[in-house]
């Protein structure tokens, strides 16, 4: 397929995943704002912006980190490259450019979502309507993914869409963990204050993991478990390890489809070797923050290597 089409599929899938993550982060921010009286809740919005990697962009647009400013910025601001508006618009623009490389169901899902979103006036999304609106965004992203999974040929295009999806998801989970890594360090286990529990809950929610956590650990929130759950648990669909597994197996499919390996496959294997052969204890010993930074850097490098190997342009 054309390198440009591969790039478009990679990015449109990545942007749909990003839109979903933005909605999830904003949902957490919304919950925090409802309990704003609680100590420490105030800077949650700030960390949320940081986790979304839009904190500097936000600071240049707004002085006050109020919930309504943040919500507008994340949902509709065209100056925010990762606003849901921009993600959906860009995803659809990419989709228009690859109409020949995606299925009718994928296109309809994306197109309907964008048309509906573009029609939504920011003023109509009041605090009361926000949860339902965010729920709709998540549902739309799931519908798109469902269309990809159930209608797309298992060919190279499918692989590029999967790669974009999981590179974005892994990065997002790593960022959420990284802005709050200090509350997960072993010493804070000793503290275990209300504030900590609140912070832990936020991390889990931001990864849609607050319910599944209990199914896996049958225990109260503990920093060590939370970190393990989101980093190494292979059954957790937003954990770093899960995302890496998808990427790695997709890379294998791609090799099989094309009948040859490219430089990015070595990059991918090396990443698995270096990061996912450690235990959680090893990771804490070497430094949680260091591990997460390394993951983010490697994930980005892999993304570039794929673009390079497959002539994205």
């Amino acid at each position: 397929m054309l390198g440009r089409n591969a790039a478009n599929l990679f990015w449109l899938s990545r942007l749909m995943e990003r839109a979903e993550n933005m909605a999830r982060l904003l949902d957490v921010g919304y919950r925090m704002s409802l309990t704003a009286g609680l100590a420490g809740a105030g800077d949650h919005l700030g960390s949320m912006l940081k986790a979304a990697a839009v904190d500097t962009a936000f600071a240049s647009r707004h002085e006050e980190t109020s919930f309504s400013n943040v919500a507008h910025f994340m949902l509709f601001d065209r100056e925010n490259p990762s606003s849901i508006y921009n993600c959906l618009e860009q995803a659809r623009t990419n989709a228009r450019a690859v109409r020949t490389a995606m299925t009718q169901d994928m296109w309809s899902s994306l197109n309907d979502t964008w048309l509906e979103y573009a029609r939504t006036h920011p003023n109509t999304i009041t605090a009361n309507r926000l949860p339902a609106f965010l729920g709709w965004i998540k549902k739309s992203a799931h519908e798109f993914r469902g269309a990809l999974l159930s209608t797309h040929l298992r060919n190279d295009g499918y692989c590029f869409a999967q790669l974009g999806n999981f590179i974005e998801r892994g990065e997002n989970t790593a960022r959420i963990l990284d802005v709050k890594y200090y509350v997960l360090l072993p010493r804070s286990e000793l503290v275990g204050s209300d504030v900590d529990i609140h912070q832990w809950a936020m991390i889990l929610r931001a990864a849609s993991a607050h319910r599944s956590y209990r199914h896996v650990y049958h225990d109260r929130y503990r920093a060590f478990n939370i970190a393990e759950f989101l980093i190494l648990k292979r059954e957790m669909p937003r954990s770093l390890s899960f995302c890496y597994d998808w990427i790695a197996s997709t890379m294998v499919q791609l090799t099989a489809f094309y009948g040859r390996r490219e430089a990015c496959h070595d990059e991918c294997d090396q990443m698995g070797q270096d990061l996912f052969t450690q235990s959680m204890e090893d990771i804490f010993r070497l430094g949680l923050h260091e591990f997460l930074s390394e993951y983010i850097a490697r994930n980005n490098a892999l993304s570039s290597a794929i673009a390079e190997s497959y002539n994205f342009h």
Binding site: L2, G3, R4, R96, A97, T100, N111, Y258, H313
Partner: protein
């Protein structure tokens, strides 16, 4: 004649229904107007979801405006169609012979049957094509002939489109939509299918690939990109044919051959169905700063390593000033009498004709020679005094820049508008493919002027489309 003085394709002046429309008329009578309204709404939803859009130049917010679709089909009887078909095939054969001649020996000019100035001073003439004959000697493979009707047996060719005619995706999607919207009507009428078109287009493109290829030729559609008004059509056709849709940046020329940039590196391309204009095709040969084309592609073409469809320079055959001579081409190249008439056309470069034109502007239609899409034209009977003054000035300043025709009484078809079912003026663009054989899709694109009384059917001027049904009888 309908009661408004125009020929209506469904209803005679005495109120009786013309034969081809019997069943449609019954169908319309049995529909409560509410249900037509619902059909119209359903149609809009179908088109919006398909992503069919048409950008209108000069209107920034309308980047993705839908062309209005009318749910009442236009009916053409088998007999009417057979007549049209013969006339159209004759015409494209003559146009093809003309192109072959004009880029080789120019016999028609030598014979004094076509003024030389219309060729050499013409912007659409492409001197770089001289002495080069494309595969099978075919220059224009994809053609649209615009036809208007003024009476039961009066058909005229309004315009030939031999460069990169668009609209075929609307023909196909309109049919798709009608199959959803009015299955009961299809059950009662035998409508000739159009959905073969993409496959025929693919075969046509294959048949003009450079000779002596190993294996099946690799085909690509070249689009200027998603901001082009016809982008939907480009992507639709590529998709329906199962070939790559490329932008200029996806293609390059190396050592005289054309390649596309794929995930696995370079892949050879044999036939390019290009939807970028001549001027933008190759910055090394045409406009140097254009980014839409492929540097070096023209040389690769002339070396016979890739076929460009349609060939550069075909515009010389559909130029509005050359149009007047097409009946002449039919006689000169084919030795036949034209089966379809031209619309009588005044040439303002001729002093007598120009004087007549200036006297009678109120009755005439003025078109810029190089204009298209309904821009730069004036319809006399609906013009204001100020507009006529304006056009008179322009004609006097540059007479050869304008052609002038009588205002034709275009036929009307029943159309569903706000006030209900009403007659609206229509034209017809049938599509022709020319490869190892000439194929013409039964039907084509009917454009309809939705404004009451309007004779301008262009979508950029508020026109809509209808599905066109050729009956098997």
């Amino acid at each position: 004649m309908g009661d408004n003085g125009y020929f209506d394709e469904m209803t005679e002046a005495d109120g009786s229904v013309r034969q081809p429309y019997q069943i449609v008329s019954q169908w319309l009578n049995s529909q409560p107007s509410r249900s037509l309204k619902e059909l119209a709404r359903d149609a809009e939803i179908i088109f919006r979801r398909l992503g069919i859009t048409f950008a209108v130049y000069g209107d920034q917010d309308a980047d993705e405006r839908l062309i209005p679709f009318d749910v009442i089909p236009r009916i053409i009887s088998g007999d009417e169609w057979r007549r049209l078909e013969r006339g159209i095939i004759q015409r494209v054969r003559a146009l093809s012979a003309f192109l072959n001649d004009i880029y080789n020996r120019q016999e028609i000019v030598r014979a004094g049957r076509l003024p030389k100035r219309l060729v050499v001073n013409n912007n659409a003439y492409c001197p770089q094509m001289m002495g080069f004959t494309p595969p099978r000697g075919i220059y224009s493979h994809i053609i649209g002939i615009d036809i208007v009707r003024t009476g039961p047996d009066q058909f005229f060719v309004l315009e030939d489109n031999v460069r990169t005619p668009s609209g075929v995706s609307y023909m196909l999607e309109n049919r798709e939509a009608m199959l959803h919207l009015a299955p009961d009507l299809f059950a009662q009428l035998r409508v000739r299918p159009v959905e073969d078109y993409p496959e025929q287009l693919r075969q046509t493109l294959q048949s003009v690939a450079p000779p002596n290829l190993d294996g099946a030729p690799k085909i690509a559609v070249l689009t200027p990109g998603i901001h082009n008004s016809a982008y939907f059509e480009h992507s639709f056709l590529a998709d329906q044919m199962g070939v790559e849709l490329c932008e200029g940046q996806d293609l390059y020329v190396d050592d005289g051959c054309a390649y596309m940039r794929t995930t696995l590196g370079a892949e050879r391309v044999d036939v390019i169905y290009r939807r970028v204009g001549d001027d933008h095709l190759d910055p090394l040969t045409f406009i140097p700063d254009s980014l839409l084309g492929v540097p070096g592609i023209f040389d690769a073409y002339r070396a016979g390593n890739v076929t460009i469809v349609n060939a550069p320079g075909t515009g010389i055959a559909d130029d509005k000033a050359v149009y007047n001579y097409v009946p002449e081409f039919i006689e000169f190249y084919l030795g036949e009498r034209p089966l379809l008439s031209n619309v009588p056309t005044y040439d303002c470069a001729n002093e007598d004709e120009c004087a007549y034109v200036l006297e009678h502007l109120e009755e005439l239609v003025v078109k810029e020679v190089h204009g298209a899409g309904g821009y730069g034209m004036m319809v006399g009977p609906t013009s204001t005094k100020k507009e006529r003054g304006e056009f008179a000035k322009r004609i006097k300043a540059r007479p050869s820049n304008y052609i002038v025709q009588p205002t034709l009484s275009l036929s009307t078809c029943p159309t569903f508008v706000k006030s209900g079912i009403a007659p609206r003026h229509v034209d017809l663009r049938p599509f022709v493919l020319m490869g190892e054989q000439i194929r013409i899709t039964p039907g084509g694109l009917t454009r309809v002027a939705l404004k009451q009384g309007s004779l301008v059917v262009n979508s950029s001027q508020g026109g809509g489309t209808k599905d066109t049904w050729v009956l098997e009888d």
